[in-house]
Amino acid sequence: MGKQTLIFNSPIFIENTATVVGPKEGEGPLKTTFDKTYDELYCGTTSWELAERKLMSEAIELCLQKANKKNQEIDFFLGGDLLNQNITASYVAREKEIPFWGLFNACATSMEALTLAAVLLDGGFANHIVTAVSSHFATAERQFRFPTEFGAQKPETAMFTVTGAGAAHVSKTKTKIRIEAATIGKVIDLGVTSPFNMGSAMAPAAAHTIKTHLADLKRTPNDYDAIVTGDLSRIGSPILKSLLFEENIDISHVHQDCGLLIFSPDQNVFSGGSGCACSAVVTFGHLFKEMKRGLLKKILVVATGALLNPLMVHQKESIPCIAHGVSFEYVHS
């Protein structure tokens, strides 16, 4: 449909999801919506990287347990994270022995994976797919910014990477949540260079994806109970609303942001949460629970990703950004 939007002919459903998070998320407003919470960042391992791997591995395990599925019964594992060479997902795939597609779209990976899963299922290439993404505060800090204990002052526009992992089991088995359509975003870069201001960098990509999605499907924001962005935070969210307002699209009454939902402002998280896990754990936990209860009938989740590389930023390049939208529909069962 349209330029960038896919509509799935055969019904594709989210069979199960699972979320595992770190300490700060476990203290936040959504604490009751997660499947498992660790109270320290190491999660019982000896390094940050191992901790992140454990989070993703357990998210998949919990997710498959819910339907009593074994790893062998899953056709594909679609996963990604923020670290170089997607190490978390790759090492988890080594352990799970499920045919693996490694994905990287920064924090937009969660919706990229779901879109591809739906495409594979709709095309009849698979029956059961599991998708998973993860991020970890300390591994992300090390990769993109400074050592965690370094005492440099961060500006108010900075974001706090969510520690956690979300997994989703996608299949054609009928459940209450259907993946109905997906819009694949374009890479958009309007010249923001600060890795401490990703909300401003990502807002145009989110605006473009939302606008294209609505135009392709000839819909308005009123067709949705919620349009949820991944991690635009306190800075990016108002920018997104004003960018869309200029295009005569008013989303202010339905817009929510996962980065703002997951933490409360008094948790010292600067402008809000970010990371692959941010959109995943909020969508797979909180939003899907609301949908299952019938409180939300139709939502559009637009995961936003800053395709940031510190090396390129040091070479005076700006940050390219992407946003993928997936529309979920409540189905009576």
Partner: protein
Amino acid sequence: MDEKQIEKKIKMYKKKIDPFQPKPSYFKNCLKAFVVGGFICAIGQGIANFYIYFFDLTEKTVNSAMIGTLIFLAAILTAFGVYDRIGQFAGAGSIAIVTGFSNAIASSALEHKSEGIVLGIAGNMFKIAGAVIVFGVVSAYIVSMIRLLVQTLIS
């Protein structure tokens, strides 16, 4: 789109997002940095006085002992995860002085402990502090050269 159009778009976007950016309060930040930085210096002076009083040190020789103590304390605070919080509050007040330097080295060493002693800790210890040392040495060299030149010209 050609380059000019892109440039124009980028400029327009910069202008557009400007009102959405929180303004850092420079006065408040300066005051915090001044107070915390001054407090750390006062602690340093206290340590120096203590050493002069109890040990066989003079005002000239006490400096290295006092600085060494501050560096040690800052490294301990870094290890306990306190120094980065002080840094978030104080900004330049705790990073521009010798304890900040200690924090930069200790935090890098801690961060890369998982990669082993040689390639991890030793290889990454000066990742942040290295730049400070390079510019410190280079500027000291230049300043001494100027001083030498002025001195020979005068005499």
